[in-house]
């Protein structure tokens, strides 16, 4: 009968009301603490990016603000790696070759302008991006993207 598949109910009848709330409350508390932790991490990342985005180029502060996340993520990647997205056992060589060609084209285009000394008539990608990154807010946002990309790599 269908009733045979139902979970056993407490004999007093009141337990049916108590049981769901008793299991729901700890779950809400876990979800709440996870949410709070995520918000805290987001605030730290954004705050750090704002700090790093405000540093002038070619200064120790700028260098250290890049090296610290590098050291932290490197330590996490090799010391205490998080649960990673399973990597594929193999990838299609033909499909991958399209990526190789596109990335090689980007490097070739960049290298040719770098070789010429990045003149105005043939600027490097860096020369084109640097003016965009000049405002503090844009540079900080780009720093957040860079940090998230690093975390994404550690998770892979």
């Amino acid at each position: 009968m269908a009733a045979d598949n139902l979970p056993a109910q407490p004999a007093d009848g009141n337990g049916a009301d108590r049981a769901p709330s008793a299991t729901r409350l700890p779950m809400l508390s876990v979800l709440g603490s996870r949410r709070a932790r995520q918000l805290l991490i987001a605030a730290i990342v954004v705050g750090y990016a704002w700090f790093a985005g405000g540093s002038a180029p070619f200064t120790n502060r700028a260098l250290i603000s890049v090296l610290i996340p590098g050291a932290v993520l490197g330590a996490i990647a090799y010391g205490r790696p998080p649960q990673r997205v399973p990597a594929p056992e193999s990838i299609d060589v033909t499909g991958f070759s399209y990526w190789i060609v596109a990335v090689a084209l980007l490097f070739e285009w960049e290298a040719s302008s770098f070789r010429d000394g990045s003149p105005r008539w043939h600027p490097s990608l860096t020369e084109l991006i640097n003016p965009i990154l000049t405002p503090h807010s844009i540079k900080s946002a780009a720093f957040v993207v860079w940090l998230l990309a690093g975390w994404g790599l550690v998770k892979r």
Binding site: G95, W99, H122, T126
Partner: protein, 66 residues
């Protein structure tokens, strides 16, 4: 079209191709892997992981420390 404009268009085209490859990879109707898939594959050995992470660090140093 000036040489500068040709250079900028060249970068834009290559970046558009990279974005296009990612979109094609996500459609699952072809053999093109997504960037996450091929990066994951390259990072399977420790050396590959180290090189990719160093590349990421270099990118940060290049754009934010210089």
């Amino acid at each position: 079209m000036s040489s500068r404009a040709i250079t900028v268009v060249g970068f834009a085209v290559v970046i558009a191709v990279l974005v296009g490859l990612e979109l094609l990879g996500r459609r699952r109707t072809n053999r093109i892997p997504t960037v996450g898939e091929w990066l994951g594959y390259v990072m399977r050995p420790r050396t590959g992981r180290a090189l990719i992470l160093l590349g990421w660090l270099w990118l940060g140093w290049h754009y934010f420390a210089r």
